[in-house]
Amino acid sequence: MEHSNKYIFIYSIVMVVVIAVSLTVVAVQLKPAQEDNIRIEKMQNILTSVNVPIASVPKKQIIEVYHKYITTAIGININGDVVEQDAEKVFAIDLANEFKKPAEKQILPVFTATLDGGDTAVIVPLRGKGLWGPVWGYISFKTDYNTVFGTMFDHKGETPGLGAEINQPFFMNPFKGKTIFDQDGKFTSIQIVKGGAADDNPHGVDAISGGTITSKGVEKMIFDNLTSYQAYINKQKKK
């Protein structure tokens, strides 16, 4: 059956409007649940970076566990001054958005965790570029602001089996105990060494074979992000 042009236009318009309305309704209805998922994932990531075992914790209890361990969250600026005290607002900071702003307007989060046994760890979020897309993570330090306490890395879409392995324990665990300053107090960050870091290298970990660009991306991410925290770290160390 041949239809007139008018019929086709009206048909298309009605179809598009009906579908647009139904998709909007679905999206609005499901938004709160989706946002909760993203928040919970962020909490899981932060807890992982301070070595809190969360694999067996059901999703619903993550919020509780998070508030138990993560005691403070503050936002600092590039000069190391505290500019945001509201933990909720700090938690909501998206580094991807902050990095688009000029350096002096960025607000960078610092989380503090009080762990079982009274240890305190300071958590700094990270964000950078891998081979195919963004990589991100969290790195935590002991209170000397030098020794790495734990890390957590993840990625959007690095090569499976190669760069994608940065979120595996065999890559993340060797960061523990490494230091980001040398004996003279000079910032060294952490090198991810192709071919493997020497056992006695206090600032180096092994790269992933076949994942060189992702490994370099993680290294640059740690260096760049921690550079922004230099002023804050220096102030804290003097205290």
Binding site: H3, I19, V26, L30
Partner: protein
């Protein structure tokens, strides 16, 4: 009056014809092994059982309901824009499924990543819409879509079963190969996790299926 009702007597809901629509995709007209459609997602999401099952359900829901919707509209759809109409319906359903997965099974939805979105381009969908739903009544079309989705899902689950078992020693996330076996020198086959082994697994399934079904063998 009684005459009219007699001539208009409807087929039973599950007549032999309708049952055949449901059954055929499992064997003689399987979308993956016989029609060789939807292979790409079958390679990508079959590393573990859980994502494979969620993917199978998603495709089944989308094929069944897009067939139903297109079949109900088939007399009103202008033939010159019918592919566009089909695509819009399929795309809308896929987006809804994707949003629901993001809201309720977030970790699985992360594993499936782009492949849920890519259901839109899954050839099984357009194939069923063009070949069946455009020419048949809504109920048989719905069953046809449902059957084809399940036929696709069956292969996905079989492939995922072997890849997860041999590649990670687990079934549906539960470890089934005991630690003692690993201690005595057994290792998971890393190759099973990579896409080429999915292709080979599907090849073996096609082989077994053809060997057992004379109707599929070329003379």
């Amino acid at each position: 009056m009684s005459d009219i009702s007699k001539t208009k007597e409807r087929e039973p809901m599950f007549s032999a014809k309708v049952l055949k629509l449901l059954k055929n995709p499992f064997n003689l007209e399987n979308p993956i092994t016989v029609q060789v459609l939807g292979i790409c997602s079958a390679l990508a999401v079959t590393v573990q059982m859980k994502p494979a099952i969620v993917m199978a359900l998603s495709v089944t829901i989308v094929t069944a309901f897009s067939n139903l919707i297109i079949s109900s509209l088939r007399d009103t759809i202008p033939s010159r824009i019918r592919i566009i109409v089909q695509l819009v319906v399929v795309a809308a359903l896929v987006i809804i499924v994707d949003q629901v997965l993001k809201a309720y099974v977030y970790d699985v939805s992360k594993k499936l990543s782009v492949f849920v979105g890519l259901i839109i381009t899954n050839c099984i969908l357009m194939g069923r819409l063009e070949a069946y739903a455009m020419a048949n009544k809504p109920w048989p079309s719905f069953v046809d879509g449902f059957g084809n989705g399940l036929g696709y899902g069956l292969i996905l689950v079989i492939v995922a079963f072997f890849r997860e078992l041999l590649g990670s020693g687990k079934i549906y996330g539960f470890r089934v190969i005991p630690q003692a076996v690993y201690d005595s020198g057994y290792m998971d086959n890393g190759l099973m996790i990579l896409p080429p082994m999915a292709l080979i697994t599907i090849g073996v399934i096609i082989w077994v299926q053809r060997a057992r079904t004379p109707e599929l063998q070329e003379k």
